[in-house]
Symmetry: C2
Subunit: 355 residues, 2 copies
């Protein structure tokens, strides 16, 4: 395998010097790309795609070719973890994820196994990581990922997506010990899963806490952050002679940036509700920042997108530790040429801040 | 009409002394109550209910009887304003609101009239306000309300609820002058509408900025807050010899509390993502605070609900200026006895902080 040719992303994660600000985006391998939709159709559906290492690699590399992204992110789904723990997962056409057997009581949670051998339990993901590394051939680093324990728990208890999160909140309020047992099993499983991804070639990992923001401050700490901290503490932070940066991203968690930075992660993911200069002043002396353009900015025309990129770069200003990204995933109805214009603007406009 | 017998809510809004913390909750007249569902069925649907002053009064008073709420809030919908501006509004069974003719371009916005005579344009709401005041007969104060201009604009441009807000964001980014024209018309219309409610008997008013939280800091200021400030500046703040408090509530806006307090409102509504002691330290010297229990706490058992009420009261501590409420509306599947237990807990547990 060739040595890494573009390590801007890894250097920025560790607040080292870079020649320009690296950029990737959440869901960059996704439905807004016709190339992705073609591969998914060929695979015969979303879960089949997730289970094919070769096709996972194909879609993971598409945005590297199309957007010139500075990092690749493993194509998979956060819910393969509960599936590997024995839950029955499906995706209806045009629908969200469904578990036919959601967790309803302590006995359901007690029955769940803890994953400890990802090569066996989630071998197809490990194979995908290795295949992507082979196919990337050193072009850019590969990011592995997982959902946070709390975020996974919401799907496992609700049985799918939710509007009010009534079931998972009821379990959390009425049976906190059951919820803690579930989260603890998930934290151990996810730590093993991420360490497996790192062992197979992931050069950075991101924990997606998509639903931490629905909690109060104290519930966030007790039911989401503490378990992410447990994961961070169990990760192998070095591989192939380099540090493996850990990125923590809680959508709607901008009130808790200091606590997130205190977990020992290397990078804090920002949503778009906070100005990046404000976030930098709060935690920029300890961690790198990833973000934070409003994903709906990609509905704007390219010149407006460029103006927004310039504004965010100017707010961050000089100094190290910025990975440009959206504040949340790109949405399916964005024109690909807008995404291309976004990446180009970051590459061109960021040079002046790193001279 | 009898003089006001319970003015705890109005006094708390103005940070005056109270004997206990007043409590009401958003959507307290709503689907979780079988009494409400019976009245709605009798009316023949949601919009018919909104248009009948007598039945509006009936559902508005239900939570005063059932929960002993310390304030009543006008039963209506925020979208009656765009409907009165000429847009075609409907609610399918079990569905959200729909406009058959969403705004797509500058010409659509230019055609919209500005409301300036609510007695004529929204006479049924004015009649509802007067009828409710008659039926309340001085038991508790009546709160009037509106959606914020930005929140109304999201529905008018999207044609209903939305997940990604792609259309309204595209208009905001690509045609900011069109969006400002729309928001300005809405601000003027809403100010006239609220002044009409006050003239007909509303003793406080709340502006619901349900969707301000999807914006960046700078877009929030330019496209939501500035127009709420315009409304606040145009309101008649005194009626029947008392000050009419203005409550501003932006869900997801806890990063901007200082700016919200600076609008000149009397009360800032909190969602549940912030600890109320933190909010009090930030803006409690200028405004009263309304909130902020997680609405899903009502899925918990009554003793857990009481523990949460005690925690929030203790965080606020001694001192004036707290109106207890949820951080967002009550959800339809909450057992009414949990809501009753919530109100009872606030009444009983808050006395000690006001001795």
């Amino acid at each position: 395998m060739k040595p890494l040719q573009n390590d801007l992303f890894l250097r920025a994660c560790l607040r080292e010097n870079v020649e320009r600000t690296p950029v990737w985006m959440m869901r960059q391998a996704g439905r807004y790309l016709s190339e992705y939709r073609a591969t998914r159709a060929k695979a015969g559906g979303f879960l089949n795609l997730c289970r094919s290492p070769e096709m996972c690699s194909e879609v993971t590399l598409q945005p590297i070719d199309i957007l010139n992204a500075d990092a690749a992110i493993l194509f998979s789904d956060i819910l393969v973890v509960p599936e590997a723990m024995g839950m029955d997962l499906s995706f209806g056409t045009g629908e969200g994820p469904k578990f036919s057997d959601p967790l309803t009581c302590r006995a359901d949670v007690e029955k769940l196994p803890v994953l400890d051998d990802p090569t066996r339990e989630l071998g197809y993901v490990m194979d995908a990581v290795a295949t992507i590394r082979r196919d990337l051939n050193g072009r850019v680093p590969l990011i592995g990922f997982t959902g946070s324990p709390w975020t996974l728990a919401t799907y496992m208890v609700e049985g799918g997506g939710s509007k009010n999160f009534s079931k998972v909140k009821a379990m959390m309020f009425n049976e906190p010990e059951t919820m803690h047992l579930l989260l603890d099993k998930l934290a151990d499983s996810v730590a093993a899963y991420l360490n497996g991804q790192i062992a197979h070639g992931a050069q950075a990992v991101q924990i997606f806490d998509t639903w931490g923001g629905i909690l109060t401050s104290r519930d966030y700490k007790a039911f989401s952050l503490d378990y992410m901290q447990k994961i961070v503490s169990k990760l192998n932070r070095e591989n192939e002679g380099r540090r493996v940066p850990v990125i923590l991203y809680t959508k709607g968690g901008m009130g808790w940036l200091e606590a997130i930075a205190d977990t020992g992660c290397d990078v804090v993911g920002l949503d778009w509700s906070i100005d990046i200069d404000v976030a930098k002043a709060r935690i920029g002396d300890r961690v790198a920042l990833q973000g934070n353009m409003d994903p709906t900015m990609l509905y704007a025309q390219p010149d407006r997108i460029r103006a927004e990129v310039k504004d965010i770069l100017a707010r961050f200003g000089r100094g190290n530790g910025h990975v440009f990204n959206l504040g949340h995933g790109i949405t399916p109805d964005v024109p690909p040429e807008h995404a291309i214009a976004f990446f180009k603007a970051v590459r061109e406009e960021s040079v002046q801040y790193h001279r």
